[in-house]
Symmetry: C2
Subunit: 397 residues, 2 copies
């Protein structure tokens, strides 16, 4: 028998996509499926981006530089300066989405067996990228009861050992919507400095913070400039998930030059995507404001409605476009699958992501689901009606 | 000090791109630099592809499925059938260029320490992807004197041990332009079968075979269907390097499902690239014929001229758009760098890729360069004049 690699066996299946076959089957049977499972924004991409693609004037769709077009990186410098993040173009490496940035960050920083600490629940694919690099994720549980705030710093200290090489945060957080406070960020800063760790910070949702709390980027933290690896992507902020454009930002030259070797091996990030993303940076603000207002409005509606369904609880997420809600079921995996395979209300059903896939510690989040509010309000309303009916029917079986 | 990972340190710098700073400096000083170093076709992309991009009618640039759009994979099935390669859409996984296909193939098949056998010289980035997966490349030297034909099978047998998990070939070959014969492919087939190995076969240059010899794909080989991992890309055949669309093909379900976990982690291949690549598949043949004729004409011109320069030798490459030539210099690395930094002829110079980076065995190919014939004939002619003058001047220093 030809063997599959150990890492291939260990690779987790996507908790967001694993129920897709059930959804496909429902759709094939003419059932309307509301997708609450995936962070695929329904809002349109910026018109300037679509126009830039439509007016592409190249004859040959050639490679771009391995770190991305310089004009694009220069425009990114301007973009970040608005958030008080001050960079040079050579501190930015354009990647195929934030995904590639996480993978190369891990590949360049972590040896097999090295550990990184990640608050859980966490974006499931971090685990996949850690497995790809042979690294080990150690999690700090956060809990729905406390609104997913960061545990005391002692919990981190207790996990740190000579194999610990970094901390990874996602801020605003996917899947919880939590936004780290200035105090929490200061705690992380001290930890990183004291133990000489990398700080991998995924901040792709920075544009979507609904509270008055300030956005504290890892790049704002003093005296750990060389430790920070910022992960970013235009996917969510411009509804451009398909163009696969993100970036890895580091002021650490040695790390930059190492990541560049991985980038040179894969030759270049997508050409047309860079053209679209670059055009999006010219957005005058009304586009972002419209999307922001829409998401905030949906969030207010969703959370209010969720908490009115008997037995359902969701804290108020302050950022991103997800919430993690607890349901009155024993096993959310089974419930989500049942919704797709068995439950229909007026020939409709819902597709939610079971939260178990976002936790590493077995047994955590068993009655929780991640809900992405990437549906228009009418569909969101219909989906919530279906959820309420589904819970009633499930518990009366 | 924050540490860089061992694999990050081991990652080779690109032999094709490492002299780029010297080239940039020459250009900044107003020198015309002829690029013979990189496989970036100068020929235009198909008009249907450009038209498809310009008429994109989506409002939201959304994710595609992790294995690529089904309509695109169905059209690829048709494309391959013309080469007597018979596939189902679910045996094709769309990737971000051939690069990602190689990386995921290695990640899914090879454990750290596992070995694969690769005839050298070889495409330099295979080494980089092997390092990424922690795998070890063992090379079988081929030589310019024999036109880079495959050594006797005993040379392979001698390298095989319990850690050997696969053989990798590139056919037609980059960097040599060599096309494997039916006999050679049969030898590889027997070897793969006898020792239960994977056969990774990179066939991105299949459209460019200039001899009458048949194209023998790894997918044509009987009884090893489950062993073959075909690596492909539209980059070279349609001059679409920038759209980052390739694919990984396997009839091995277990391997397919494992590779899919890596693909799900990175979410989706580029959307606009798939639209362009899909449109390119509708080419009626005149586009491919025109490019084929142009490359063949350039090859004939280049090889003839190279062999007329005193001390230069190039075998006749039968495929792809590269040749590996030996020069009358001790150290082609130094010569290539000197051309960029010191030599000017009528304010022009040349950028060639030193062949040493395509060999793993130290000392091999020291007086060889890879020349890509991706310049129009006038520029190619000028570049050859510059090469001849440069060799004269270099050896008279």
């Amino acid at each position: 028998m030809l063997q599959i690699s150990e890492r291939g066996i260990q690779m987790p299946a996507s908790p967001i996509r694993k129920l897709a076959p059930l959804s496909d089957r429902a759709k094939a049977n003419g059932v309307k499926v509301y997708h609450l499972n995936i962070g695929q924004p329904d809002l349109p991409s910026p018109q300037v981006a679509l126009d830039a693609i439509r007016s592409i004037d190249r004859k040959t769709l050639e490679y771009s530089p391995s770190d991305g077009f310089r004009f694009f990186r220069e425009n990114l410098v301007n973009y970040y300066s608005k958030f008080d993040i001050h960079l040079a173009p050579d501190e930015i490496i354009v990647t195929a989405g934030g995904s590639e940035a996480v993978l190369y960050a891990f590949m360049a920083c972590l040896n097999p067996g090295d550990e990184i600490i990640v608050p859980e629940p966490a974006y499931a694919n971090y685990m996949a990228f850690a497995v790809s690099a042979g690294a080990v994720i150690k999690t700090i549980p956060t809990s729905i009861e406390t609104g997913f705030k960061l545990p005391e710093i002692e919990k981190f200290e207790a996990l740190i050992n000579p194999k610990t090489k970094g901390i990874l945060i996602c801020n605003p957080n996917n899947p919880t919507g939590y936004v780290y406070t200035a105090d929490e960020m200061e705690q992380i800063r001290l930890l990183v400095k004291r133990h000489n760790l990398y700080l991998f910070s995924d901040e792709v949702y920075r544009e979507f913070i609904y509270s008055d709390a300030p956005y504290i980027s890892a790049c704002h933290l003093k005296e750990i400039e060389e430790h920070v690896v910022l992960i970013d992507s235009v996917s969510k902020r411009y509804s451009e998930c398909g163009i696969r454009i993100g970036c890895l930002i580091t002021k650490n030259r040695k790390l930059h030059d190492t990541v560049m070797k991985f980038c040179q091996a894969r030759l270049s990030p997508p050409l047309v995507g860079q053209i679209a993303a670059n055009a999006s940076l010219q957005e005058n603000g009304s586009y972002m404001q419209r999307n922001f207002d829409e998401y905030r409005c949906r969030r207010d509606f969703l959370i209010d409605r969720l908490n009115k369904i008997p037995g359902v609880y969701s804290p108020q997420p302050e950022g991103a476009f997800y919430t993690l809600a607890s349901l009155p079921v024993d096993d959310a995996d089974a419930f989500c699958a049942w919704c797709l395979s068995d439950f229909r209300y007026k020939n409709q059903t819902i597709f939610m992501a079971p939260a178990s896939g976002f936790y590493v510690t077995p047994g955590l989040g068993k009655n929780e689901v991640r809900i992405a509010y990437v549906l228009n309000r009418e569909d969101l309303n219909n989906a919530l009606i279906v959820l309420e009916k589904a819970l009633e029917a499930y518990n009366e079986r």
